[in-house]
């Protein structure tokens, strides 16, 4: 059988112009540069351009019905790859053959118009994503029920809360029925319950024999969702293989850093907050990459507030490589009301978060961190994913060597009544 997606020696080159500060070129600049050229009589006055290969010689195949995860850091070429596969931009070299109807989801709610009602936006967004009018009509009730917005169907979406907006947008996308679905990290939105619903929906999709291409920088999410993983680095394909094999090699590489990352790079000029480091600490406050659930374990986060402000919040997310997201925790959880009014002064802050070791399964974990003013703006996303493993010596599974379902292993007393 032919592969669903066949990528051969795919490359994409961008020309970086170091002179231009604007994102677009003004005619004036082109003209003045040409005039300068004439007067100076040399070619060197041209703005210094530099070739940049966002993607270089990438080849792989995706078989029908497969769920392939693509991961890599910022600038690894993931987004460029997505854009080429979605036919938004042309490759410079190479060739892609796609067999089947493709839908790509690079953003939730593409083309939503704030002035239009929920009902109208469902039709508009559906058709933008490639659904026919009849197809939308047939799934309309399902979409509305999925988004839980029945009451606000005829309200302009500009009056929606951000949660409702995202739910509606995802509901439309989730009801696409292509042969091949290409998804960017759109799942990183919405509240936890809704995220879960979306993940469930995606698993349904792949069970129906559809091919899914999922792009993320979160190793744990990818491994929980996909059966094959491709790792990209600096525009090249570094590794591709079955999830398990990839996790092993990824973790093996990760062992070199002892359960932590530090980022001392300068923050951008208007950054309000930057996350500086994440470490895993054991009960002796030593930075480690392996914890035993007999003992205590901590995540240490350090961030720098660069501009004084209100409402800042930091989040850590604990991911299990097989079970996906275990939990997320925020500073404001302890006192949600007070934290809204608290003013953050400039300076460095360090927090210690104790992990609930007694319920964690054995296995490989990762910690990701981000900071935001909830519902207003994202302040920073920590680029590195800190990996560590937990050795299980106390859970019922460890004691009895029985198998057990579930992402966590709480020991709960059964009280006879």
């Amino acid at each position: 059988m032919e592969p669903a997606i066949k990528i051969e020696k795919l490359s994409k080159k961008y020309i970086l112009q170091h002179q231009a500060k604007e994102s677009y070129v003004a005619l004036r600049d082109v003209m003045t540069n040409n005039v300068k050229k004439v007067f100076s009589g040399e070619k060197s006055t041209r703005p210094t351009t530099e070739e940049f290969w966002a993607l270089k010689d990438v080849s792989f195949e995706v078989n029908a019905g497969e769920r392939l995860g693509i991961i890599g850091r910022n600038g690894a070429g993931k987004s460029t790859m997505l854009k080429i596969l979605s036919r938004i931009t042309d490759p410079t070299e190479g060739r892609v053959t796609i067999n089947g109807r493709v839908s790509s989801l690079l953003e939730v709610g593409t083309g939503f118009h704030p002035e239009l009602t929920g009902r109208e936006n469902i039709f508009l967004n559906g058709s933008i994503l490639g659904m026919g009018k009849r197809e939308i009509q047939a799934k309309f009730d399902e979409i509305v029920a999925f988004a839980e917005i029945e009451k606000f169907l005829d309200t302009p979406v500009k009056r929606y809360s951000s949660g409702m907006y995202v739910r509606l947008a995802f509901a439309v996308a989730a009801h696409l029925e292509p042969d091949i679905l290409i998804i960017d990290e759109v799942l990183a939105v919405g509240d936890a319950a809704f995220q879960k619903k979306c993940l469930g929906k995606m698993e349904d999709v792949s069970k129906h024999g559809r091919t899914v291409l999922f792009v993320s920088h979160n190793m744990a999410t990818v491994t929980a969702l996909c059966n094959r993983v491709a790792i990209m680095e600096k525009g090249r394909l570094k590794e591709i293989g079955d999830t398990e094999a990839i996790i092993n090699s990824y973790l093996h590489a990760g062992k070199k850093n002892t359960g932590g990352y530090r980022d001392d790079s300068p923050a951008s000029a208007n950054a309000k907050l930057k996350i500086r480091s994440i470490r895993i600490l054991n009960n002796n406050s030593l930075s480690v990459s392996e914890l035993n659930n007999e003992n205590k374990g901590f995540v240490e986060i350090e961030f720098e507030v660069l501009q004084e402000g209100r409402g800042y919040d930091a989040t850590i997310q604990l991911n299990h490589f097989q079970y996906g997201v275990i939990f997320t925790s925020c500073i404001k959880d302890v006192d949600p009301v007070e934290s809204n009014t608290k003013v953050w002064q400039k300076g460095t802050y360090k927090y210690l978060i104790e992990l609930p070791m007694n319920i964690l399964r054995g296995g490989d974990y990762s910690v990701t961190a981000a900071s935001a003013i909830p519902k207003v703006e994202v302040l920073d996303v920590f680029e590195y994913e800190t990996t560590f493993s937990v050795f299980d010596s106390i859970s019922p599974v460890a004691k009895t060597t029985e198998g057990r379902n579930g992402a966590i292993l709480p020991v709960i007393e059964w009280r006879k009544v």
């Binding site: 961008y14 677009y24 003004a26 036919r87 938004i88 042309d90 790509s104 953003e107 058709s127 933008i128």
Partner: protein, 279 residues
Amino acid sequence: MSNRIVIEPGAKAKHYWKDIWNYRGLFYFLAWRDVLVRYKQTAIGLAWSIIKPLFTILVMWFIGWLFSSQVPVGVPRILLVSAAALPWQFFSGAFSEISNSLVTNSNLLTKVYFPRLIVPLSTIIVALIDFCISLALLVVIMCFYRFVPDWKILFLPLFLLLAIIIAIGTGLFIGALNVKYRDFRIIVPFIVQIGLYISPVAFSSDYIYNSSRIPEALKFVYSLNPMVSVIDGFRWCIIGSNSTIYLPGFLISIVVSFFFLIIGIWYFRKTEHSFADVI
């Protein structure tokens, strides 16, 4: 499998026009969106489609009267002006919308694939609807002066088509340039403003072509304006026997219209694959 897509550098879609046909649903929805959004949160809404051309007519009528430009015998001046102001209003609306459509829809261009031509083309619908509403104005004026058009009025749709062709040709060209050089966002209103005065809205082409005071070279330059043929055509259809068309000028103008259409589509297709990268 029938749905086979090959992505290659510079691969000009072999089924370019067929692809556009396949995406007609999106064309319809984008046009529908523009129509719905047009007069949201305005107090008098659709009435704007009447008020804008009405004021253009009144001002142009006043200017024509002020400089006592020629009017054919038996034709009220306001009718002469209306027959020109309406197609002009249509062109200026369609042209501006098409020119800006790519930039206003940049979020779509960078996130979803579809034949790019869909976006500018779908914006014409709004201008067409506005035009149809403003036709009512013309009917009212004709009734008021008890002016009955003859059989030539049947040719009106042909000249509307010509106006559409001009708007598409110039709009696509400027719109594609606008993606890279935002200067054109400033140039567009300027073109529209100047165009109103160099097109025969306040005066008639007969005057230009028959004048001995105007040098031949200038007459030729005048006829290069593609809207001259549209407006002359509209007047010929509406006013009928009292209006004549100066054929050489008319033909030059039509040739220029199609020249713009070809240039517009050519440039658009040449640059469209890089829209998402430069917008």
